[in-house]
Structure formats: structure tokens, C-alpha cells
């Protein structure tokens, strides 16, 4: 393909109009040449010989007539060993290396290799000359930290190829040839450990997509028990500022039981990424005994970094997730916040003077959001293994109002909705996920009847609470009052969870199931209290014990002692079980 050139004919914010000499394609990358700097840009609209480009850099200093060089290639990322533990910007520039070169500030026009070129990887071949291979088949593997990183036939090589040669076991860099394959026409293709993939194109080199069914354990009680997410599923966390979206994603990135976590810090605070960046290398993943960083990639395009690169960042992130999924791994992509990505689209759409939709978002907002979440999924690979990409995105609705376009478009496509409520975060009830308004279509770690039972108590307790606001405590029957207290109790000791407490921050499935059964025992018990004050005091004391219990190490002496005391307290006041408690037992 011949590469076209062009000249700048207009500048409007981060959008530049270019008069092109030759052919260009949509989403093709070009560089605006500014003295000694080359500014990366992407074609986002073509009209006749005029192309509009979004510039991934600050546009100050660009003038009419400045030359533009097109690359003939779409915006792509590098795939290969060496991605894990890295911190990239939205265009896969490694930020620490950039800092080494440029110091405190980001310098425009400096683009470094995403994959280290000097590292030698220990390659073990899995195929031999004469074998037939196609896209995504493993040719061999290299150890990358705790994983066996599969070296695959590039995903765009979708025909059948015969292996002509493959290197023997040994150390190779990502740029060395490790195999030569021949297609049906006899054309030879050289394969390296590294190849490029256009970020806006989903990787589909698998056998089939499956329905997500196994839970993705987050160790957050309210999620795993009541609002679960499945491996390969999608979920969103909308909430007003300060409601706890980022903290929730941070704890999930630490504790989630998945192989790989990709954090896309998209258009929000740089400071929050720094916490992850500095803490992860020190934190030990209990599953592997290695630092958490070994399973993590951070894509960091925070709010003051160029907006166009922010738009690209979520695609960069999901492409990396899909890549590791092809190795049979479970990958979790956490994007904070998808609203900033949507706003980046809105900014460009405005500059293109497209006809605006609601709140000036472009008309294609919904379909773009839908196709992004569609890149999640559980798949069966061609070798029979399963791999998954789970996507969790926060949404930052304007004014905290969930009726706005981004939240609504997202709710249409995700499998679980963890809506954060201002009321709960104001009252420091963390995680502030609204237990009644949120929903999930995925199966829980706890049996359905029991969940229904607990949810019903919560629902009725809430109703009584609302009623009490109208008729007062004195107008409420003691039975209703006890339901209210039970719901409040469950809220305190089960739904709320202290993310900053060393023990309570992450609760294993085993412990959740165990504690839930005690909780259920309390919820389904009939208690006889003389007066409301006695009931309130009783539940206060029980709550106190339970909070101490939640804060004690699983199966420690303290844990067992408190459990004994709790059970004793229940026995003392219990007067049999409620009639509707049968439902729980015959299931």
C-alpha cells in the first residue's frame, strides 16, 4: 500500500482538517509533522479529499500547511509477552519509560515501544515442521511471570498454514523470527512473538461463545451474594461523585478471583491510579504468592491527558484483555469511567458538527457502548479451553441522575447493575450499592430461595421504615418493627463492608456462605420482645458482636468465641422460627 500525505487546512481544538493527496481510510493513523515533532492522529471522517483527524496530543503550534504523513495502518496495539505489570497511556506508551526519558511532564510526540525489545524470553515450541496451524493456534509458549504466555499465530492469519520451520527451545526477543509458515498458495509468512492488532476490532479467533455461568468472585459480600457477576459477564457501577465507584473498583482489582486484571483509568484522577501503581507491587496475591502487579496491566489516560487518547484507551484495554483470553485465561477489565470515554466522543462529535442527540451526545452513543460491552464474553477456544473477558465499567452520570444517556445506554446492555446511592454514601454505608434498586442476571454463590428470603426481609424492612416516617414508631406494630430491625441489622453486618479493614475488606466465598447461614438463621427466627426499646437494644448488641465477628480472622479463636456468643444470644431470645422459614429448609 502506498502511504498518502497531506497538508493541514484547519485547526479546531484537538481536531485538525487535512487536505489529502492519495487514499486514506477511516481510523487510519497519521502524523502531523511539526518541526521536530510528529503528532499522532487518527482519521475520524473523510469527505472528498478532506480528512478530519483527532489529534492525540495538544494542538498548540500547529499551522496551516503543516505536512501530514499517513501510515496506511489503523490504530493498533502491540501484542506479545511483556505486557503484564506495565503501565501504559491510552495509546500503549509505557509511562514509566516515558518518565525516564522526559522527566516530570508528558512530552508530546514521544512514542516508545510498548513491548520491551531487549528481553529474551524462554521459548518452548509446541508445533513441529509439517503441522497445520491457523489464527490463534499456539506455536509455543514462554513463561511471563506466573503465566505460560502462549505464542500464537497472529489473529489476522485466518487461513490454514503449514509450519515450514520453527525455532528450537531457547531464548528469543519479541522481534526475532520463531517460525515460518506457508499458506495454500505457497507464500511464506514469518512469525515473531509479537504482532499488532487494531484496537477497534474485536478478536474473534475462538470456537464459540458460551453463556457466562460461573461466578467471578469479588469478595465483596453484597456483590457475590446478592448482585453477582459471572466470568465473561458485564456490569456497570453508576453513581454520583464520591459515592464510591473508584474504591469499589480498586478493591475488586485487588481481590477478584481472576487471572488477569486490566485497569483502564479513563479520564479521571491521576492520583487514584498512583495508589494502585505504588501499592500493587507491594501487595501479595494470596493465590499466587507473587505481587499483585504480576497479574495486572494499567492503562492510564487520566483527565488532563489528551482527550482523543482517552477515547482510544478503553479499546486498548479491551484488546489486551481479549489477547490474554485467547490463552485460556480469565481477564477482568475495570474501566473508570466510561462516561469520560463517552464525553470524549461527544467532544469530537461537536467539533465535527454532527447533529447532536440527547445532552449533545452523538446519535451513535448507544451502539458504540453496546459494541464495547459486547467484547466481553466467555468463549471456548479452538483447543477446547475456556477463557473470558469480564467488563465492569463505572458511569459518572451528570448530576447523579441515572436517567442520562450514558447510564441508560449502558443499562440496556450489561448483565448486572450496581447502582450507588448518594443517600447511602452520605450515611457512610459502604459499599453504597443500593440493595433494592440494583439487579443482576447472573447466578449467586448462595441458593436462590435463601437469597429471595433475605431480599424479602430487606424489602419489607424498608417498607416498614418508610411507613414509620409517616405514622411514627408508635403507630408501628412490634412485629413490623422487628422486621425493620432485622433489615437494618442485615444492612449493617452483611451489605455494608469496610474496604479499609484488613479482615473485612475481602471475604472468601466460604466465609460468605458460612456467615450468611447464621444471618439467615437470625432473619427467620421468631423473637418475642415486650417493647420496642427492648428489641432495639437487643439488635444493637447483636450488631455490635457481629461487627466484631466480621473483623476477626476467619476461624481464629476470636472468631469462634464471638460466634459462640452470637449463637447464645440468638438462643436466649428465640421463640421458634417464623412460618415462612420452611421455604428455606426444603430446598
Amino acid at each position: 500500500m502506498t502511504k498518502s500525505i497531506g497538508k493541514v487546512v484547519g485547526v479546531n481544538g484537538n481536531m485538525v482538517s487535512v487536505e489529502v493527496d492519495g487514499n486514506v481510510s477511516l481510523n487510519e493513523v497519521g502524523y502531523i509533522v511539526l518541526n521536530d515533532q510528529r503528532l499522532k492522529s487518527e482519521v475520524i471522517r473523510i469527505q472528498g479529499s478532506k480528512a478530519e483527524m483527532q489529534v492525540f496530543e495538544i494542538t498548540t503550534g500547529i499551522g496551516i500547511g503543516d505536512p501530514v504523513e499517513f501510515t496506511g495502518e489503523l490504530l493498533a496495539v502491540e501484542l506479545g509477552p511483556g505486557l503484564l505489570t506495565q503501565i501504559f497511556d491510552g495509546l500503549q506508551n509505557p509511562l514509566p519509560q516515558l518518565a525516564e526519558q522526559c522527566g516530570f511532564f508528558l512530552q508530546r510526540g514521544v512514542y516508545l515501544n510498548a513491548l520491551p525489545r531487549n528481553i529474551k524470553w524462554d521459548f518452548t515450541p509446541l508445533v513441529k515442521a509439517g503441522d497445520t496451524v491457523t489464527a490463534a493456534d499456539s506455536l509455543g509458549y514462554v513463561p511471563e511471570g506466573i503465566f505460560e504466555h502462549q505464542i500464537m499465530v497472529p489473529f489476522n492469519m485466518s487461513e490454514n498454514y503449514t509450519v515450514e520451520s520453527i525455532v528450537s527451545a531457547g531464548s528469543y526477543t519479541v522481534e526475532e523470527e520463531i517460525a515460518v509458515v506457508v499458506d495454500a498458495e505457497g507464500v511464506k509468512h514469518s512469525i515473531k512473538m509479537m504482532f499488532n492488532w487494531p484496537v477497534k476490532k474485536a478478536i474473534t479467533a475462538y470456537a464459540e461463545r458460551l453463556k457466562p455461568a460461573r461466578p467471578m468472585i469479588t469478595k465483596v459480600r453484597i456483590i457475590d451474594t446478592f448482585l453477582p457477576v459471572s466470568l465473561g459477564g458485564t456490569y456497570c457501577i453508576p453513581g454520583p461523585f464520591g459515592a464510591g465507584k473508584t474504591v469499589l473498583q480498586q478493591v475488586t482489582s485487588r481481590h477478584a478471583e481472576v487471572d488477569i486484571v486490566i485497569i483502564a483509568a479513563c479520564g479521571e484522577r491521576a492520583g487514584e491510579v498512583v495508589e494502585t501503581l505504588k501499592e500493587f507491587p507491594e501487595l501479595i496475591d494470596p493465590k499466587t504468592g507473587k505481587s499483585l502487579m504480576e497479574r495486572t496491566i494499567i492503562i492510564c489516560n487520566t483527565s488532563s491527558m489528551p482527550v482523543a487518547a482517552r477515547e482510544a484507551s478503553v479499546y486498548t484495554a479491551v484488546t489486551l484483555a481479549e489477547y490474554y483470553r485467547q490463552m485460556g485465561l480469565n481477564c477482568l477489565l475495570l474501566a473508570d469511567s466510561t462516561s469520560r470515554w463517552a464525553q470524549a466522543m461527544r467532544e469530537m462529535s461537536g467539533r465535527l458538527e454532527e447533529i447532536p442527540g440527547e445532552e449533545a451526545f452523538p446519535a451513535y452513543l448507544e451502539s458504540v457502548i453496546a459494541s464495547f460491552y459486547e467484547r466481553a464474553g466467555l468463549v471456548r477456544l479452538k483447543n477446547g479451553k475456556e477463557g473470558s473477558v469480564t467488563i465492569g465499567g463505572t458511569v459518572s452520570p451528570a448530576g447523579g441522575n441515572f436517567e442520562e444517556p450514558v447510564t441508560q445506554a449502558t443499562l440496556k446492555v450489561v448483565g448486572a447493575f450496581h447502582g450507588l446511592s448518594r443517600e447511602r454514601s452520605d450515611a457512610r454505608k459502604y459499599p453504597a450499592i443500593h440493595p433494592l434498586e440494583s439487579w443482576s442476571k447472573y447466578p449467586s454463590i448462595i441458593n436462590g430461595n435463601q437469597i429471595e428470603y433475605a431480599r424479602d426481609v430487606l424489602f419489607r424492612g424498608n417498607e416498614v421504615g418508610q411507613m414509620m416516617k409517616v405514622v411514627g414508631e408508635e403507630g408501628t406494630s412490634i412485629d413490623d418493627y422487628v422486621i425493620y430491625l432485622k433489615a437494618d441489622f442485615m444492612d449493617y453486618v452483611y451489605l455494608q463492608q469496610n474496604s479499609f479493614d484488613p479482615v473485612d475488606a475481602a471475604v472468601s466465598v466460604e466465609r460468605q456462605q458460612y456467615v450468611f447461614s447464621i444471618l439467615l438463621d437470625i432473619l427467620s427466627s421468631k423473637f418475642s420482645f415486650e417493647i420496642k426499646n427492648e428489641a432495639r437494644q437487643y439488635f444493637n448488641q447483636l450488631r455490635q458482636k457481629f461487627l466484631d465477628y466480621n473483623g476477626s480472622e476467619w476461624q481464629s479463636d476470636q472468631f469462634k468465641k464471638l460466634e459462640e456468643e452470637i449463637k447464645q444470644m440468638i438462643e436466649e431470645k428465640r421463640n421458634g422460627y417464623l412460618a415462612n422459614a420452611d421455604k428455606l429448609r426444603n430446598s
Binding site: V9, G10, V11, G13, S17, T59, T60, G61, I62, G63, I64, I87, L95, P96, L98, A99, C102, G103, F104, L106, R108, F241, G242, G267, R269, A270, G271, V274, L277, K278, T302, S303, S304, V307, S337, Q343, E347, G350, A360, F361, A398, G399, G400, D426, R428, K429, M468, K469, G472, E473, E474, Y492, F500, K532, R536, N540, R543, Q544, L547, D548
Partner: protein, 435 residues
């Protein structure tokens, strides 16, 4: 050598268009008209048509006026000579001092590489319990005061500035009332802080485009001082005026508005300023305290709303007090783990109880009979408001924590507080071990 253009093709609001060559995006120009000279900068290039926003406004500019391009973007002088000086938004002296032209630096520079940032670690003590106990301010934080107009937000800003231990203060005033400008000047002078302060002030009477420059001018200078090792506190008041100035230009440029007339990039624009807050490893820091007035006391208004998503928390000022609900310091957990072991638990526990107090208060106002528990909560709430929330309270953090426990003990039995037993054993008045 640079060409002078003497034909202006269009004038709309504060934006003029000239036909010119060899102009770069962002470049500065001087527009000379009968009413004097003004700076202007390039905000759009379309073939030969160059659009500029004129700092002193479009009023009085005629189609025959001269435009001379300077060949560089907006700059500000940087040296120790800035200390104690007062400038306009475009960097002209407002005091009687000389104008400064040495060592010019560009404003609105690139952002800090996130990989170079460090975890904030130093608490800035203010003596205000609603800040120190419940929402600690941290060096390198960016934090606005959300306020209705009429509240004493500038007084609060000045008080924190005077009490905070920083090396220097930069005040960026936007649409500042002249009286408020004088108030800041007097407070800093009386506190002996003027010699380590720099003012960039746009008053309500000044041209609107100059308002837009204030944050960038203030922060560019702050950044240079921070790189030289200074702990800089930047005060920006009022960012709603800044946003409104942006809205005005956007409308003139016929941009599609996104929300109540504000441009779609309001979030990115505000973020690029606030994100200048930083702690440079091995050098100084920038902490930003801003004021965001909320039109109609509406926190969902686009300006406070976008701000809340950008800044690291906010202080809500209402009825002369910092409200516990809505107020937040996102960085508090970086510092409150090392203060005293009851700090975090007390902070959360007291707010939860205050939330319950508010519910009881509501019930009471509806005429319901108060239960024993309600009565306890009412007592607690009143004590809390008088002894913690009142802005006249000025005590160190440790005293404030002790006061917290005594308020709890006056109001509740230990198990009613929802606090863990170990803490109660250690801190409950009467239980307190002698050390």
C-alpha cells in the same frame, strides 16, 4: 518581520476573525484599536481565516484595526520578583509596581506523567474539626468549597490559607468583587503573609476573557515555584465565574452546548487546571483550594457537578458551617491512619449517628412521639453541631477527637455507638487507660 494585518473580517462578541498566513494554533496577537492595545489568542484556524479571542473584549474593536501576531502562545514572567505583587489576568501589574518581562514561561503546559506522581502523605492541619477530623486536607490535594452565594466562603478560604503551613500562596481571583479583593489583600497583609503571596486578579469589572487566563497564569507560576522546592497553596475563587466565561466564548463560537449552555468539554477544561495539583518527588508541591459557588444551591448544576468528579472531595459550606453530608476529602485515608487509632472509626461512627439524628429530627418536625432512642439522638445532634460543626471552633485534631468521645459518652451507652469494643475499651471516657 512579522506581518501586520489591518483588516478584520468579522467581530462577534469577544471573537474576531482575520485573514492571515503563517499563524499557529494558540498564538498570541496584539490588537490595536482606538481604545488601546489588547492581547488576543488564536482559537481556530480555518484555511486563511484565523479566529482570535480578544482579552479586553470585542467592544470598540473596528474592522480597520491592526492585528500583529507575536509568534508565540500566552506567557507569563517567572521570577522571585513576582512575590508580593498583584497582576491582572493577562499579567499586567494591578499594583503600582513595574511590569515584568524577564524569563517568560508558557502557560497551560503539559500534564505531569502519572508515573511520576507519588502518594500524598502530609496532612495540612487547619484547626477546624470538620476538616481535620472528618475530612482532612492533604498536601497536593485539589479541593473546592461548594457554597451558595452569600456564604462566607472567601473568609473560610482566607482562614485556611493563613493557618496552613505552606511556603507561598497564589491567589487567582475570577470575577472577584472589589471588596473581596480588598478583603484578601488586607487579611494577608495583616497576617504578614503578603510578601510570600502573588495575586492574579480578575474583578467583576474587568474584561471577561482575562478571567479565562487566571487559572493558567496562577498554576504556571505555581508549577515553577513547586519545581524549585516550594510548597505552594493556590486559591482559586470563583471557578463558577471561570466556567461562565468559558460558556460565553463557546456560545460566541457557535459550539453545540451540552448541558445548560456549557460546552461539552467543560469537564476536560476544568480537569486540566485542577490536575495541576501535585507533589513533586524531591521538590515542592501544589495544593489547590477553590471556590465553586452553586447557582440556586443546586449541586447538580454542571459546574459543581463536573467539579465534584474532578476534585479530590469538596467542602460544603451551608449556613456558615461545613456540612458533614456531601463534604468529603478523598485523600483523608492517606493521612488519618497515622494520626491516632480512633481517628477513622470515630469519624465514620459519628457521621452515621449524625445521619440518624437527622432522621429523628425529621420525625420530630412531623410531630411524632420521640422514642427513647430518638431523644438520645436529638441530644447528640445538638452537641455535635455546637461543639464540632460550629466554624468558630478552633482546636487541634487530638483535642477534637477527645471531644468526640465525650460527646458520645454524654449521649449514648457504648454499645449504641456501633463502634468496635477494643476502641471503646481504650477511649471511652472513664475507661481510658492512663498512659
Amino acid at each position: 518581520m512579522r506581518k501586520i494585518y489591518s483588516k478584520i473580517d468579522a467581530i462577534a462578541g469577544n471573537v474576531i476573525t482575520v485573514s492571515a498566513e503563517n499563524v499557529k494554533y494558540g498564538d498570541l496577537a496584539v490588537v490595536s484599536s482606538s481604545s488601546g492595545e489588547s492581547l488576543a489568542n488564536v482559537i481556530r484556524l480555518n484555511g486563511k481565516n484565523v479566529s482570535l479571542q480578544v482579552f479586553s473584549g470585542g467592544r470598540g474593536v473596528s474592522t480597520g484595526d491592526e492585528v500583529r501576531f507575536l509568534g508565540h502562545p500566552m506567557q507569563v514572567s517567572f521570577s522571585d520578583n513576582l512575590m508580593g505583587r498583584i497582576f491582572t489576568g493577562s499579567g499586567k501589574p494591578r499594583d503600582n509596581g513595574p511590569s515584568l518581562e524577564e524569563n517568560m514561561i508558557e502557560i497551560g503546559g503539559p500534564s505531569v506523567n502519572p508515573a511520576k506522581r507519588i502518594i500524598p502523605r502530609n496532612m495540612i492541619r487547619t484547626g477546624i474539626p470538620m476538616i481535620d477530623v472528618f475530612n482532612s486536607l492533604v498536601e497536593s490535594q485539589k479541593l473546592p468549597i461548594f457554597s451558595v452565594s452569600g456564604e462566607p466562603y472567601n473568609e473560610l478560604l482566607a482562614r485556611i490559607a493563613m493557618q496552613a503551613e505552606v511556603d507561598m500562596i497564589i491567589l487567582g481571583g475570577m470575577g472577584l468583587k472589589y471588596d473581596d479583593y480588598l478583603f484578601f489583600k488586607e487579611t494577608l497583609e495583616n497576617g504578614g503573609a503578603m510578601s510570600r503571596t502573588i495575586f492574579f486578579v480578575h474583578t467583576a469589572a474587568d474584561p471577561i476573557v482575562e478571567c479565562l487566563l487566571v487559572p493558567d497564569m496562577s498554576l504556571a507560576v505555581a508549577e515553577k515555584f513547586a519545581l524549585k522546592g516550594k510548597k505552594v497553596l493556590v486559591l482559586l475563587t470563583d471557578m463558577t465565574n471561570f466556567s461562565d466565561a468559558m460558556k460565553e466564548i463557546a456560545i460566541t463560537m457557535e459550539q453545540v452546548p451540552s448541558n445548560r449552555g456549557y460546552p461539552g468539554d467543560l469537564y476536560s477544561q476544568l480537569a486540566s487546571r485542577y490536575e495541576k495539583a501535585v507533589d513533586f518527588e524531591g521538590a515542592g508541591s501544589i495544593t489547590i483550594l477553590a471556590v465553586t459557588t452553586m447557582p440556586g444551591d443546586d449541586v447538580t448544576h454542571p459546574v459543581p457537578d463536573n467539579t465534584g468528579y474532578i476534585t479530590e472531595g469538596q467542602y460544603y459550606l451551608r449556613n456558615g458551617r461545613i456540612e458533614p453530608f456531601g463534604s468529603l476529602s478523598r485523600l483523608k485515608q492517606m493521612v488519618n491512619k497515622d494520626t491516632r487509632d480512633d481517628h477513622r472509626a470515630l469519624m465514620d461512627g459519628m457521621i452515621k449517628l449524625y445521619a440518624s439524628y437527622k432522621e429523628s429530627l425529621e420525625k420530630k418536625s412531623m410531630g411524632f412521639k420521640m422514642s427513647e432512642w430518638d431523644i438520645k439522638l436529638l441530644k447528640y445532634g445538638e452537641l455535635f453541631e455546637a461543639e464540632m460543626m460550629d466554624l468558630s471552633v478552633n482546636i487541634p485534631l487530638e483535642k477534637a477527637l477527645d471531644r468526640g468521645w465525650s460527646i458520645l459518652a454524654e449521649s449514648f451507652t457504648p454499645d449504641e455507638t456501633g463502634l468496635r469494643t477494643e476502641l471503646i475499651n481504650k477511649f471511652w471516657p472513664g475507661n481510658k487507660e492512663e498512659n
